[in-house]
């Protein structure tokens, strides 16, 4: 996972899988670190994520909730067809804002 801060937006680029192991712990630690640094506008780039399972979805929800509680938000970009299918069947596509790319997600944060 890599993190890039650009203005008041932080971009977390995930890779590999988000399946309830150390990958999800690392993701949530990064979200907590961002909140501690008073950064609450987060884009999660899923383009290199091969797999998300229900545990990984749980981590994304936990991150979304933590940021929302601080008045921030978490948006997903570059979501694969397979992951979109999981988000649709669980109706989590009604929770997460999903954008095709970073520019579109950034525009969604507004001023």
């Amino acid at each position: 996972m890599t993190r890039r801060d650009d203005g008041d937006v932080s971009i977390l680029t995930l890779s590999g899988r988000l399946m309830g192991g150390p990958d999800t712990e690392q993701f949530l630690k990064q979200i907590r670190d961002l909140i501690d640094s008073k950064r609450s506008r987060v884009i999660v780039d899923m383009g290199d994520v091969a797999w998300v399972n229900s545990s990984g979805l749980g981590a994304l929800i936990a991150g979304w909730t933590l940021l929302k509680e601080k008045g921030g938000s978490l948006k997903l970009i570059r979501v694969s067809r397979r992951i979109e299918q999981i988000l649709a069947v669980t109706k989590l596509n009604t929770v997460f804002e999903i954008h095709p790319d970073e520019a579109s997600a950034r525009a969604g944060f507004g001023g």
Partner: protein, 158 residues
């Protein structure tokens, strides 16, 4: 690989490590190709088998890597049956809820079996004193045909 006439069986065992589920993903890909499944069905099977494998590793075996999860694929003429077996104590199906209900939507847990049931034609569980077996069924849709036109020459030395 073996089985009754018209049925072929692929069997594998993996240690209880989530990282190894990517192996199952690759096997599902090959098996689904043999069944002639379209991409959506192929994804549905892969997602569901990964969920069942995750359950077996996390809940059945508590991440004890030396305990083996068995995955058996039965390629039948009209359907693919996948059985995922662990040696754990099982769980209470009664407590499972609708993961998409508004009151459950933001819960961090409890989606695995819901996902499987949404994506497969049939999902059942068998709990015995030896462990838990999850049985997943995906039927061929009209237009999906065995691409090999008969028993497929799958390599069973996985």
């Amino acid at each position: 690989m073996s089985g009754s006439p018209g049925v072929e069986i692929v069997r594998l065992e993996i240690p209880s490590r989530l990282e190894l589920l990517s192996i199952i993903d690759k096997v599902v890909d090959g098996v689904a190709d043999q069944m002639g499944f379209e991409d959506d069905d192929k994804d549905a099977v892969a997602i569901s088998v990964i969920e069942a494998g995750t359950n077996a590793i996390q809940h059945g075996h508590g991440h004890e890597s030396e305990r083996l999860v068995e995955i058996v694929f039965r390629l039948e003429p009209e359907e693919l049956v996948v059985e995922i077996t662990d040696s754990g104590g099982g769980f209470d199906l009664e407590v499972l809820e609708d993961a998409t209900a508004p009151e459950n939507l933001l819960k961090e847990r409890g989606r695995g079996i819901f996902i499987m049931r949404s994506m497969m034609d049939d999902v059942s569980f068998e709990f015995t004193d030896k462990g838990t077996r999850c049985r997943l069924v995906k039927r061929r849709r009209a237009g999906e045909a065995d691409v090999s036109g008969g028993p497929a020459p799958l390599d069973d030395t996985l």
